[in-house]
């Protein structure tokens, strides 16, 4: 019901003069055609396959371009001089209210903030915290295993990354449901909360925590982030709020959603499960193949200067959706892309984006996925989707599996 109201309230934009008629498509990134019938990735790939053009334009969500091919997506992420991060969310009017840091900064302002994030959550820290990540995974899975059934999205995907992050950020578990609600209203809004309200909620929540970690710095991630200088001067409160809120969004969405798609796939394919159960060393690269096949992000860039792309003129200020969803799944990037092949060579994807804003948490995300699959398959090697269930996917800036009821025999 709410969805319908939101749909009716979203008018279509007029086609601007710089958009040739043959580039116009009917595609709402929050509700792509046929998503319920064919699935999320299939719905996006259908758009990709529907034209030989590399960029198209949609009147939905205030009107924006969409890059359709992985090579083009990668090139745009690597070209901040033409494709600015000044606005990265769609629709543009909401994107202007988005206040996370440093995702909206271009170079050179972006660089010192990125360094703070790299130090907080990069390769080195990721390796150090693996025991904590594994401990949380094991705790949850050992609790689930004797039940013989679960809703994976609720009982694991929404628990695991959250509880890992709570330990790392040192925030209380009671807060999680509220924070997750705000995050979901950013990435898959149902019209009940504007971006401005989401930001207000985040900032009201993180302010007292920031105060505490400045006064009493600890070993946690928030302390490590806020107690940093930027180019020799202290971080401002707005910057601290934006950085900490980014960590919350990243921790409570994204990996959650990727895990849902990974487990839906494994639940449907006994042969793939068996490959990994028989040879757990394959899990590391299998996870890379799963990230290739199931990207979940469709964020955007703002055109900085009038630019010729694929035979069209994109005007300064135009928004371009640069879907990581269409990278690994592009048949020009990978042979038989919709097939999962744990022995695939020369894997190519843009699941974590590219360029200076490439996902700072990518190493962490890979580790969380790997540890989840390792510990799950040790205890629950055989499982399937509960018979009779219809699995729903939801599209947005970050996409997700809504519910994933799984069943398995208990020994």
């Amino acid at each position: 019901m709410t969805d319908n109201v939101a749909e009716m309230a979203k008018p279509l934009a007029d086609v601007p003069s710089n958009v040739p008629a043959d580039r116009v498509v009917d595609f709402d990134i929050f509700n792509p055609p046929e998503i319920d019938e064919i699935g999320l990735h299939e719905a996006w790939v259908k758009l990709q396959q529907s034209t030989s053009h590399e960029v198209v334009w949609t009147p939905h969500n205030e009107g924006h371009w969409i890059a359709l091919r992985g090579k083009r997506v990668r090139a745009m992420y690597r070209d901040p001089d033409h494709f600015s991060s000044h606005v990265i969310w769609l629709p543009k009017s909401e994107g202007l209210q988005y206040g996370l840091v440093p995702t909206r900064l271009d170079l050179p302002q972006h660089t010192p903030f990125r360094e703070v994030l790299n130090n907080a959550i990069g390769i080195t820290v990721t390796k150090e915290v693996e025991p904590i990540v594994r401990e949380v995974a094991v705790e949850i899975i050992e609790d689930l295993a004797p039940r013989g059934a679960c809703n994976f999205t609720e009982d694991y995907a929404k628990q695991f990354p959250v509880r890992v992050f709570l330990k790392l950020l040192d925030i209380p578990y009671e807060d999680v449901a509220d924070v997750k609600k705000w995050v979901d209203q950013m990435t898959r809004p149902d019209g009940s909360m504007s971006m401005e309200e989401v930001m207000e909620n985040f900032f009201r929540y993180v302010d007292p925590i920031i105060d505490d970690r400045i006064a009493n710095p600890g070993e946690d991630l928030i302390s490590r982030v806020v107690n940093n200088d930027i180019d020799g001067r202290p971080m401002t409160r707005a910057e601290m709020r934006g950085l900490v809120s980014l960590l919350l969004v990243a921790g409570l969405d994204t990996v959650v959603n990727a895990l849902g798609f990974f487990m839906e796939f494994l639940a449907r394919s006994a042969s793939h499960r068996h490959e990994l159960v028989e040879n757990p060393k394959k899990i590391r690269l299998a996870v890379e193949e799963l990230f290739r096949r199931f990207p979940v992000v469709a964020e955007a860039r703002m055109v900085k200067v009038d630019t010729q792309v694929d035979g069209v003129t994109m005007k300064a200020g135009d928004m371009v959706c640069v879907p990581t969803i269409l990278g690994g799944t592009d048949d020009q990037m990978n042979k038989c892309p919709m097939q999962v092949d744990f022995n695939r060579k020369d894997t190519s994807h843009v699941t974590f984006g590219d360029g200076p804003h490439i996902c700072a948490g990518q190493h962490f995300a890979r580790q969380e996925a790997r540890v989840t699959i390792e510990e799950w398959l040790k205890r629950i090697p055989e499982f399937e989707i509960a018979p009779g269930s219809k699995i729903q996917h939801k599209s947005g800036i970050v996409c997700t599996v809504e519910d994933l009821p799984l069943v398995w025999k208990v020994k």
Binding site: N119, I123, R284, E288, D346, T347, H349, F352, D354, I358
Partner: protein, 107 residues
């Protein structure tokens, strides 16, 4: 720190790299055409570089996962090959000289 980069059929250039970033990131952000198709996760072999002998021994040791990936390259040289996403820039490596490998050029 400075990195000297030799690019097949294009010659040499020098770039600046910041402490704590990976060599791959420094190359990518300087506009060097490095493929780096997995984005830096030690999951492909398309950020493959050959390190000048003067620096090879100064790098943190290569992991088994990295070696497995490097061995799949036609241009693997056990005394020079590294994945540039696994090398962290540090002032101790200032002047690092390396050459991009043909299997790691952006298409």
């Amino acid at each position: 720190m400075k990195i000297k980069v030799a690019i097949p059929e294009r010659g040499e250039t020098e770039i600046e790299a910041r402490q704590g970033w990976t060599v791959m990131e420094a190359l990518r952000d300087a506009g060097i055409p490095i493929a780096a198709r997995c984005g830096g996760g030690c999951a492909c072999a398309s950020c493959h570089v050959h390190i000048d002998p003067a620096f090879f021994g100064k790098l943190a040791p290569v992991s088994e996962d990295e070696t497995d990936l490097l061995e799949s390259s036609d241009h693997y040289d056990v005394g020079a090959s590294r994945l540039s996403c696994q090398i962290i820039c540090d002032d101790a490596l200032d002047g690092l000289a390396l050459s991009l490998q043909p299997d790691s050029l952006e298409d």
